[in-house]
Assembly symmetry: C2
Homo-oligomer: 358 residues x 2
Amino acid sequence: MKCDLQLDELPPPAPVIAALRQARRALLACHEDPDPDCVGSMLALARGLARRGVRVTTVCPDPLSTALLQLPGAESVRAPAGLGEEGPWDTGIVVDCEPARTRDAWPYLASAPVVINIDHHETNDGQVGLVWVEPEAAATGELVFAVLSALPVELDPAMACHLFAALQGDTGSFQFDNTKARTLRLAAHLVELGASPGEISQALYETRELGYVQLTGEVIRTLRRSPDGRIAWVHLTREMVERAGLRDSEVEGFVRYPRMIRGVEVALLFRETSDGRVRVSLRSRGRVDVSQLATRLGGGGHMRASGCTLAATLPEAEARVIALVSEALRDGSLPRGEEHAPDLGLSQSDQAIRADLS
Amino acid sequence: MKCDLQLDELPPPAPVIAALRQARRALLACHEDPDPDCVGSMLALARGLARRGVRVTTVCPDPLSTALLQLPGAESVRAPAGLGEEGPWDTGIVVDCEPARTRDAWPYLASAPVVINIDHHETNDGQVGLVWVEPEAAATGELVFAVLSALPVELDPAMACHLFAALQGDTGSFQFDNTKARTLRLAAHLVELGASPGEISQALYETRELGYVQLTGEVIRTLRRSPDGRIAWVHLTREMVERAGLRDSEVEGFVRYPRMIRGVEVALLFRETSDGRVRVSLRSRGRVDVSQLATRLGGGGHMRASGCTLAATLPEAEARVIALVSEALRDGSLPRGEEHAPDLGLSQSDQAIRADLS
């Protein structure tokens, strides 16, 4: 049996490839609140360009977590402060987000004559420079793989590791419904090129401080549900984060606890940020599109996973967002997808075969 | 680019296939404390045999969790009680374990003239009937796929779903280091045949009772570590499980919390069982082989994930096992694998390229 990698399924726009081939000094940036997809995509592309002789600088507006710092080359990722001394650049590249989410890095990127934006978020409206926004991709890592193939650059084990981490990160380790056969086939290909699923997962997901695990227990104690059980949420105060001895970049993943409860349609995590605002993570179990809600609140993301940041206290943010979500669920103003429980692909004609399994 | 599914990598023994082709009335059993790999493998094989006209009965010594009951055909899985009335069978098939772990189902299986045992646990010593133990396989689901291909039976969406769940279950959603390119490529193939990663994951991993999430917080509060930080463990008492309103089959997954702590080499979960014993789950982060320890305690499993059941009180079991693990770590009697932190596949020659990413 043969299975193509179907590289032509997501072809990069020719102008993007042409511009990348012209680059000599490139600045690459990923988004605030960095995750494996943005950092892995940025590092793979930076390394690919470096292999072609481009002088590259990588930047992230927030510090990388201990976990993300284990990705090859991650220690070279710069903070925006003092970045100007490294320039000028002929090419600015924004990966996995709209330019605004690169925050303080954006002026440096915008100073380059050519700006390229590669992203898979459907809420990215693609207003700046050469844009490739492809919501069909499970992760920006899929797009960077297509770009590297088109340049072309041969992938080495480090790039395979970057891109595997990117795919894994944005598919919830191949559990979200953005996981296509294409995604898994690319993951298999990356393993053949040297990515080690065990080592990457251990570094990214299975290496936490004691304080993280203890904080998990504490976050679960803040769990609340709406009276009808369709909304559930947890929160993190500054005090909880500081008592656990963790940096902001290290407190992720907690939204999975309200999300996994049977009957919950929208799960939320509220986290006080160090600048006195509240970061809200919204997750849908598939019936409603939370990206619309996040966009209304000044954020964005995907149908099932979005986020926004509010200038409010924690109780204000909770009250406001829960009211909005309740209202949207009640009046049906959030578009609905499947109305039924997952049936795991079984059709009615399977009943006959089921009956055989007595 | 072409990539073969490499079906010939794990070829089933001819006598096993020949015996399955002879079967007319088959009894299939999986192990106590059932998981997605044993149930998914058993259901896929049962369905495949049923498609070939075999009359099949499936049995599990313990009740299936609400999550596992969502797998197609899972509602037909029988308890051993009263099973005799369904016989006799010409073929008994034990899937994903040695015969002893089918407990009360074993006499019924053993009553068949032909007994087949298909498993990937290296601690299965294969003493009964026609045996195919293949520790190279990430999951027994890989072996069942090979068997179905050899019979041959064409996979339908339900079987694809069973086998995807099996792979996902035993690879920790493609995070453990038993995840090979082959495993991911088979997963991609199963998605093409109709398995939905999103629906399967939501059913198996993201649908929990409120009590489960609350119990998670409570289990984390029982977290303890050895003075050197190399061993960490949590426990569940009967009272905790009952207060959460959960059945035994619904309290799994908690060993991940001690396991994820930085510096921990062996993580353990101790759970009081309903028959007054203590079930111990052992996890290694790769430096030591916990299957040897589990075997010494009358259990078995894999190098990184094993289990055993002790006739002891919870404090006795904790004291005894922690002492054994400490001793084994101290005197190095558990074989060691890699001694270094995961380097994510980077070789020293990559330093030059790293330096470019300034």
